[in-house]
Amino acid sequence: MPDQASPSSELPLPRHTRLYVACQAAGWGLWTLVYIGLVFLQGEVRVNGEVISREPLAKDIAFIVVINSLGLLLTHGYRAFLRRRGWVRLPWLALLPRILGAVVVLAVAWTALVWPIQHFLADKAKLTVEVQPATVVIYSVFQGSVFMFVWSALYFGYHIFERYRRSEVERWQLQSTVKESELRALKSQINPHFIFNSLNSLRALIDENPARARAAVTQLANLLRYSLKSGQLETVPLEDELRVVDDYLALEQVRHEDRLRVRLTVSPEAAAAAVPPMLLQTLVENAVKYGIAPRREGGEIALDAACVGGELHLQVRNPGPLARRSGSTGMGLRNAAQRLRLLYGGRARLELREEPLGVVVAEIRLPMTTAPLNIPATESSP
């Protein structure tokens, strides 16, 4: 059935149509059989267990088949109407009065169609009690309404259930993707681009400066080991993190040479403070990525760590306007902020701002605590 307004949210038509046809055929077919069975039983029961003439049975069956066929046709038309108007997508409150109205209209139409046939088939002789036509009509409309209501309930019940199920599946899928990406994203890793570039520079360095190449291999190993282990630890002493940041910057200096200059200022008490692993590293990586790599003349990365009034202040400065970062996804810093929220609630802060003179500062403020553990991962290799 061509249906212009077929809502895109519905299942593909063929399967849908097949299910509909099956339900209509089964429902009306079954009801016709039950109805015939009832008449048959009634015929037997009518006279105290004695089986009497079944002569009107054929007529009764014909009548039942006719009314049910009419019911089938009416509901088929009803469905076409529903689909064109998109009733399936209406909310409950809007749907219910419409269904009630439609049910009455259908019942009246059904009665109007059935009435002349019933009149024609009626066996006047069998009627023992004279029944008022009005009573019959009202009864017929009422019965038809019940039928149409049950039909509507099944039809909309199915659709509402389908919609609910589908949205449930979608919600579930969405949730799992969000969680997955959250986990994956929050796990800060060393940028693979950096690793392969470093390996490439390292290979060139082997001939050019073997001593420097050997040192670089150690630095890269430290960095990778720390990065792999950091997932298991909540916090590490800042000095451990700084050792790795040092290694990282040394490797970046191999790549960028004199384009990258580094200045570190760390107070002794700050060095003992506990920090989430790879957090400072993320800031430094960002600073190199956005402050040094895109600038032909390079620049200076300045790192300051100090204790101020019970808080640890970490600052990473790099040259360049903040606007340059518009090209980035901001993923690294967003993840870092998210990690801080998870670990410290509202007591930690991450801020990125531009100072005058074209310097970008990334600042983290953490409550001062001392680290519970020292991880062996950063011990320098012999």
Binding site: P192, N197, S201
Partner: protein, 244 residues
């Protein structure tokens, strides 16, 4: 083969130089550390082959290629790890090397050039190529979103003007080229391409059928492409061209 190395890292350039030393057919004529320097070097040195890093300070490798006047030298990309770039290459089968570069992979990439198509051979007289028009086998670099193509001039069916840009129809794609149709037309071979109307330039080798159209015009069906209308004046010129 005159070769230019473009990479922002000195060590990376040195490494390539060392790897290329084993290939006697490669003559390294220069190095560049960023796109701006590279553009000048390409114009001056006219290399036949360029090794190009994708990520560089300032403009990246793709932006450099887009800005170059065709015909382009052969290009072999070198990148460390860039999902987007690698995807773009794989889709369009551009040649690329992953850093650190595998010597066997490098040899294979160079091998493909050696036995391959001609612009490098034609480039034996680079000046003639530069000043003249594009040959059928010359390539134009086009990028759209995260995809990029080296399009052979002969495979271009139709060029359509869209303001200051030109939509290039080839294979199954129609990306925009950051060059006006007029500028493009000046570089195209008049024996192969024909200005059908204000907006369209067609490749004569891609014409499927020609039928008469209103008031002495012509309607040309491009193979696998749209129909293009020629006014009477253009149709006149078109007939003359074809009869030649």
């Amino acid at each position: 083969m005159r070769t230019l190395l473009i990479d922002d890292e000195r060590l990376a350039r040195n490494e390539l130089r060392r790897l290329l030393a084993e290939h006697s057919e490669i003559e390294i004529v220069g190095e560049a550390a960023d796109a701006e320097v590279a553009r000048v070097a390409i114009a001056r040195l006219r290399p036949e082959l360029v090794f190009l890093d994708v990520q560089m300070p300032g403009e990246d490798g793709f932006a450099l290629l887009e800005s170059l006047e065709p015909p382009l030298p052969h290009v072999i990309f070198a990148t460390a790890f860039d999902e987007f770039a690698v995807k773009a290459f794989e889709v369009n089968a551009l040649d690329y090397l992953l850093k650190p570069v595998d010597p066997a992979r490098l040899a294979a990439a160079l091998g493909k050039l050696g036995g391959g198509v001609g612009p490098a051979g034609g480039g034996a007289a680079p000046d003639a190529v530069r000043t003249g028009r594009l040959e059928a086998c010359d390539k134009v670099f086009v990028r759209q979103g995260d995809r990029c193509w080296f399009v052979e001039v002969r495979s271009i069916r139709l060029l359509e003007s869209e303001g200051n840009y030109t939509r290039v129809h080839f294979d199954a794609a129609q990306p925009l080229l950051f060059r006006s149709l007029n500028a493009m037309e000046e570089r195209l071979d008049v024996k192969m391409f024909f200005r059908a109307n204000r907006r369209q330039v067609i490749n004569l080798e891609w014409i499927d059928t020609i039928e008469p159209w209103f008031s002495g015009g012509l309607l040309v069906q491009i193979k696998g492409g749209p129909k293009v209308e020629l006014s009477r004046r253009q149709a006149q010129e078109f007939r003359e061209r074809l009869s030649l």
